[in-house]
Amino acid sequence: MNWKEILMEDILRLIKEKKSAPSIRDVIEDTKVSKSAVKETIKALEGKKLVKMDKGKITLTEKGDEIAEAIYNYHRATEKLFGHKVAHSFEHMRDKSNYLKDASHSTPLDSFEEEEEGVIVGMEVENPKVLSRLMGIGLVPGIKFKIVKNSGDMIVLNIGERLIMVDHTTSGRIRGVKSYEENLANRPA
């Protein structure tokens, strides 16, 4: 993904984030990119019929709004998962996009059937002991898993050929989405 595409995504997200339509100046401030680059990118977005300029403010078209919505949700998801600082590096990684866009439709791990595969997209764990154990053992957001056993009392997950057992209560607080076949084709290089 080149910088131009990244900037396009950032601009679309920004319009969605701001309560009122941003000006070119707002975009420059937020992205810390040069004025010419911003102008050029907005032109390109206009060409794609995703945004239009309206009295110096950038607004989304219907088509643009749809895409921006997806990007925005995705950004929120990554930020929640990896922290604000890392989110930017993560969200432009293509391999994760498909399932992270579905993060809002996630279900708790204990609702997965045996043999089902998925990706962890969220954790509602507040206990720091539990959280640090989960992360240390490799149950981090974005990781792929396969359910080996779901006995009702606990689940056994396969993560990168490692077996991890998680009790019922904790597994109910970890959320995942089912992974699709096409994700496997898009590995990071």
Binding site: G83, S132, M135, G136, I164, M165
Partner: protein, 627 residues
Amino acid sequence: MKKILLIGQPNVGKSSLLNALTNAKVIISNYPGTTVDITSGKAVINGKEFLFVDTPGAYSLSPSSEEEKITDGMILEGDYDFVIQIVDSTALERSFIMTLQLIELGLPMIVALNFWEDAEKREISINRSLLETILGVPVVRINPVKGKVEELKNKLDDAKTSYYSFFYDDHIEFMISEVLKKMDYKGKASKRGIAVKLLEGDPVALERFCFSELEDIKARFIKEHPNVNKDIMITRAGYASLLAKRVERIDSRGFHLSWLDNLIINSTVAGLLFTLLIFSGIFLSLLYLGGWFQDFLGGYFDSLLNVLNPWLQSQNYFTQLLVENALIGLSAGISVAVPYIGIFYIILALLEDSGVLTRFIVVLDKLMRKIGLPGKSVIPIMLGFGCTVPAIRSTRILSDFRDRLKVAVLYMTVPCSSRSGIIFGVVGHYAGVSYAIGIYVVSFFLFIITAKLLNVAISQKEAFLIEELPPYRKPLLKNIMVKAWIRMADFVYIVLPLLIIGGMLYGIVSYYNLVDVVVKPFSFLTKGWLNLPGKAIIPLIYGFLQKDLVPAMLANALGTSNFSKAMNNFQLFTFGLASTFQMPCIIAFFMLIKEFKLWRALIIEFLTFAYGMIVAGGLSKVMRLFF
């Protein structure tokens, strides 16, 4: 001499590395103020002397168990020159969380990649030189099981503080700078690292470096970061994940399972059968192998006594009694306890190192939960079959205090190898194997009943279970022997002297004819309730001092070592029950005090004694009705 900490996740090969570096010449010491064993060893490498210190396996430096607190504490204490982090090449991402924590603390370090051959097999390729460039610390490959540690040995002088840096979001960074202003810290770690740990709520750091304004700083940012510890952890995990993505390429994304896991985890019946098979294997090897060793060593001691006999006869009666009983004590320890405990610990180390032990948690989880214990308690309970003393300590792996207490009480129904010695040596030998098995059956049911009763007395709280089932690995004989020895060392150094002292004490008691003084007041218990010969109280009481000596004391008290002459089979069975379901011995008592405080230890002692006597007497009365 340079002191080096070996740190890493559980099962990552820390002790193998220690053994490989020091040629298995390790010593065991106690971590000050705790009961955790720390192994260490010295070695001369390239002409320089090094002291390597193993740390308890920790998933990260944000402790989630008592053991992880020890590791965190050792790191924060700063009593070392540098750290070697052993990293599992097949699970880089999660190991990097700890790497980043070490970097954050600004500690000089070396990263050692273990299991890299496994990683290659699974098509995970790691760009080692890129990682070295990013972090600025030596990154070496090791295979301690095969003794390949040369790369590491050659880099021991190159440990460095990493120049890699990473930041949290602006508010957290501001909080860090606020903490830095107020914090007063001088030590090995970087101030920033300590500040982050304080904000993260690290219990060890808080205990050592907490200051009054810390909560105010947190409170000021409660809106932006209601849960700053979570945000820090998540951001760090995010960086770890990014770092892993930069340096590794994973071409296989399969979810393969070994055939054994397929069998025992997917099928409950197969799992239970497998567990039963292993358990009976342990039982049989204890019975036969242990018995064989017992005969062999016992014979050796008998002949030693015979050799000494002429000399003993020439001494006065008091010395005679003293020396003879001291020798009986020593002989009981070496010929009864050492074989059973030794064999048990070797088997246990084998199960642990091969990765089988944790599978029992999965298989037995349901059963344990039914009786109100977490699945993980299988491990300390199994250890209880060896010796209650280290087993009490091992309850630390359970995160909830109440669960630990429950398991500690339950040890009275789990025959340790000393009590197994009584069951085999007294009951099995003189009343028959079926009576011995009968005692085990009774203990199994009593275990379940007691656990249920304890649920009423000690309220239940659900503890978390997040545990890895480590990959199966071929265990290395040397490592197994070292591990078994580490567990046995306590026994040999503490229990054997106690046995000798105990033997001498009995000598004194019989010299001054104090036996009757003890026997009479208790005859209501022995004769009345248990229906045993009055003198049987001596070995029963002696059980508190040392259960290994019970058979020898019984022989002394009854005046014959052919117990069938003095007691019938039912009496032998009752005696077996009464000495099996007993209060923990004196060493276990001290361990109980250490772990659970004096008042709880006293309650456990008295309650279990009463409970055991009620059960043994009650059962003997019931049996009398039927036979």
